[in-house]
């Protein structure tokens, strides 16, 4: 079942394991420049507020009610990343593994394929937690993603509209599938996991208006999405849970919920100039997926707006991240890492 607790989606599977518990939060972040550079991972600026759509049945569209789920507010051109937190299972000293499908406008953010219930191993259309702590965007190439940036649905920029030609769904779709209990107990007799976090920093700036939002590909950043290290049969595919996350324009949010949306994030340039940290995450024991040919063909918002002769994004000058915090995992004890040279 899925519950909403403290602005997080909490997936539990008591029928599989009493401690099979995964929390997903939606982190506000700065929009990385959509230029020719690739950037490290931007920070977390706090969680987006989440609400049940059913609690605002009189104010939201019939379409949203039909799809169920939750909603969160985003400004046009605001960016987000997803944080995955799997519960540490006491008796085993390991976090419970989950396979997670993430789609934007019902187009898979990992494979670029149209939404299908269930998991696909070839080509992999899910990511594996706790191995994958975060996802910041569409997987376009091996080790490279394009940031999730909110754009009004119907404006032609979202991944959904670029792939299907239609502005039908918008939002984010998530499905979670736990590992089978017997497999978990066999694979994780004893082990300890080290926590990771990307700093939470508050800030402010400006806004704009439109109705439903979809996620469009923004600037490029370095993030690997890992190949499933387990056997496909390890997943308890019969008991997955799924949730529709509606993205609501921040101005509309205020009129629906009567509560203010968070302030927009600072620019990448001003953030960097303030000497605040960016992040890199490597797992030397894992191999990264190659990325999706479908997603690689998407035009970024800057590319598309230049082709259309429009100016849709607030100015976002090239940034020079200087303080980069590196998280590295997967090295055996005493192993020396071979770098790039």
């Amino acid at each position: 079942m899925i519950e909403l607790k403290s602005d997080q989606l909490v997936f539990t599977f008591p029928e599989v394991h009493p401690q099979a518990k995964l929390s997903i939060s939606f982190q506000r972040t700065l929009r990385i420049p959509d230029d020719d550079n690739t950037y490290p991972l931007p920070p977390g600026l706090g969680e987006f507020p989440l609400r049940h759509v059913d609690d605002f049945a009189e104010s939201v569209s019939a379409q949203w009610l039909k799809r169920g789920g939750v909603m969160l507010p985003m400004y046009q051109s605001e960016a987000m990343w997803l944080n995955f937190d799997s519960e540490f299972v006491d008796g085993h000293d390991a976090a419970y593994p989950f396979a997670i499908k993430i789609a934007a406008g019902k187009q898979c953010a990992v494979s670029g394929q149209a939404w299908q219930n269930g998991l696909r191993r070839e080509s992999q259309d899910y990511l594996v937690v706790p191995e994958q702590p975060w996802l910041d965007g569409f997987v376009v190439e091996k080790g490279l993603i394009r940031q999730f940036v909110a754009m009004p649905l119907g404006s032609g920029y979202s991944a959904e509209e670029q792939i299907t030609g239609n502005a039908e769904y918008g939002g984010l779709q998530i499905a979670v599938c736990p590992m089978k209990r017997d497999v978990f107990e066999r694979r994780f007799p004893k082990r300890r996991e080290v926590g990771r976090s990307r700093s939470i920093i508050m800030s402010e700036l400006h806004c704009k208006v439109a109705p439903d939002m979809g996620l469009a590909p923004g600037g490029m950043m370095r993030q690997e999405v890992y190949d499933d290290p387990y056997d496909f049969t390890d997943w308890q595919t019969a008991v997955s849970s799924r949730c529709f996350v509606h993205l609501c324009n921040s101005m509309v949010w205020q009129s629906i919920t009567n509560s203010p949306p968070p302030h927009p994030a600072p620019t990448a340039k001003s953030y960097s100039q303030a000497g605040l940290p960016w992040f890199e995450y490597y797992d030397d024991s894992k191999s990264a997926l190659n990325g999706s040919g479908v997603l690689a063909q998407l035009q970024s918002i800057a590319q598309k707006s230049a082709a259309k002769g429009e100016v849709v994004l607030p100015e976002n000058a090239t940034a020079t991240p200087e303080k980069i915090v590196e998280y590295r995992t997967g090295l055996r004890q005493g192993q020396v890492r071979e770098g790039n040279f």
């Binding site: 401690q19 789920g69 006491d90 008796g91 769904y169 779709q173």
Partner: protein, 117 residues
């Protein structure tokens, strides 16, 4: 109180079939009690242990702590605290819920609803 002991022994034996570290002796050491005491609890010759020990046993066996506590006739400290804040309300609520089917109870704990996409 043998239902707690029976249940505990059954769970432990199931785990021991795959993993020898779930013998009475080794489990007792890990949860911080004497093996002879744990053995007596399993045979119903001693009442169930403290909440702290039950929580440790639940964690070792990968079982739901609330289920083990309930079988031991106990309510976890955090739940007691919640009930004590509004005892009449929660007593009434629990009586109302007792015959409700699981799906109706889950609706009360605010499951996020999946719809038609």
């Amino acid at each position: 109180m043998s239902s707690f002991g029976d249940h505990l022994r059954k769970l432990r034996e199931q785990r021991r079939a795959d993993d020898a570290s779930f013998s009475v002796r080794q489990l007792a050491v890990r949860v911080g009690v004497e093996p002879s005491y744990l053995s007596k609890v399993e045979r119903g010759q001693q009442p169930p242990p403290s909440e702290k020990t039950i929580l440790a046993i639940a964690a070792e066996l990968g079982e739901d702590p609330d289920v083990l506590l309930a079988l031991a006739g106990k309510v976890s400290g955090d739940l007691q605290e919640v009930i004590l804040r509004r005892p009449q309300l929660f007593a009434e609520l629990i009586r109302q819920l007792k015959d409700m089917p699981d799906h109706a109870v889950l609706r009360i704990v605010r499951e996020v609803r999946d719809g038609e996409w």
